[in-house]
Amino acid sequence: MSFLLEADDLVRVYTGRGGLLGKAQPVRAVDGVSLRLGRGETLGIVGESGSGKSTLGRMLLGVDPAQGGTVRFDGRPMPARNTTEWRALRARMQMVFQDPLAALDRRLTIAAQIREPLDIHRIGTEASRATRVTELMHAVGLRPDQAKRFPHELSGGQRQRVVIARALATKADMLVCDEPVSALDVSIQAQVVNLLRMLQKQTGLSMVFISHDLKVVRNLCDRVAVMYLGRIVEEGPSEHLFANPRHPYTQALVSSVPEPGRRLDGRVILQGEPPNPAKRPPGCAFHPRCLRATDICRSGIPALQPLGTDRTAACHLVAGETRAEVA
């Protein structure tokens, strides 16, 4: 099976300011990430704030230039940003934003905004574009009379539907959703997630779903990649990964999800400071907060090791366990 999207060894370094007189501190937001996205697959990317998941999403789309590594879409390398080919490729890959109000032009009616990608990529005639807009609005559950509304006249969930409709207008093959539901009410979240799932089933598009909400990711995604400080620490099919997390960080994440009826005793509570990408600890980036850290964790950076057929994890201890199991 050929992959729709192949990313290899992506690196993105931001140069932060170190105060008035301080030295500029390079921040490795994304540090050597490789990913595969199959056709029709939903890949979840989870992690704390600052783990580089949004940056990674933008790099997969080619919106943020990669400083190292390559992105191949449908077998071809990503064209340089803001070139004609790059713009043409936008018709096949789209983004859903976290804040739908900011992503919409407040001066245009929502029908005009949903129509915009069709105008940009010159798809269809005047009449067919209008039909397509009506069709899209229906598909995302917007009423036809809302076509002439402005974004500020809609609710948060409706705005996000507009953004999704716009992203789907050109029948894109890939959708990157950057925390699409975290700005919404819980009840609306479910609606939008169900909408995304339904649309994916209907159109067979591939999706990268970036979120810090494990429940949503577990619900929606086929495969999940867990990020910590710009690196993927564990990856695997969503059901297996959540049922049996191997990396200590994933274990802590999974146990942090409250479940009704379960006592809170057995939770892994992380100690120490949340990660600061500007001050990356030596060795395994997670070792200062890891309950099981040993000497090897403080010195060597663990590589992603395969665990069984379809899972990988980057942890010295997990790799050791696996080897012991095999032996």
Binding site: Q94, A103, R107, I120
Partner: protein
Amino acid sequence: MSLVTPTETAPHRVVTLPRKRRIPLAVAAGLGWLALMVICAVFADLIRPYDITQMDLSARLSPPGTPGHWLGTDELGRDVLSRLFQSVRVSLVIAFGATIISAVFGTTLGFLAAQFRGIIEHLVVMLADFQAALPFLIMSLAVLAFFGSSMILLVGLMGFYGWERYARIARGLAISAGAQGYAAAVVQLGATPRRVYLNHILPNVASTLIVSMTLTFPEIILMESGLSFLGLGVQPPDTSLGNMVGFGREYLTTAPWIMLGPAVVIMFTTLSISLVGDWLRDKLDPTIR
């Protein structure tokens, strides 16, 4: 104080407020005044009773209300009303022309700076700082003294007044829109920079630019008045509002009507521009309709 029971007041409160569609009185008056000024400027040749240079030495300094000279005459017996029409034409051409030149020039440079960043942005910002640091009147005086005054030069020169404000506003707003938000979203849809700037960023920043224009417009009228007053603006016998005020100053105590007419026109025109500009800004914004 008697308590009003809710049941008594409730039916009155249910009445929905009609949406304000009527133009406010002040704005209507402003629009009317501006229309009047434009008509005056366009048909100045037809409606003025006398030629602007026609002298009537027997009727020098006649006060307003004199039959035949409803706004009086000046020190050479020229009809003030006729000269006022001509002044409105000249001043409006200069002020409108210059405001548009300065807005287009400044906004274009601001957008270029926001789009290309790097060296172009540095250059634009540096030019804007240079312009802001330079006393504009002194520079205009130098240019006019060197090249001699002509209408085209005057409009072009005034067009450089205040462009740095548009450039800064346009650059700042375009950068903030591009960093995150609708502009970034539209770029991500595959739009060309031309489309992003003309269809999305420009309409969104237009309200701020319009307010800036309503500020620049009166300033340009006043600047032209100042230059004319100093003798380097519109050259006599042609006349502008500022020019009339300048020459009427000498007769302030004996024949105040010579300068009061143009002064009142300047005041009402700038006031109207401000009112209409404010109203237009609100009108163009769908979020506060």
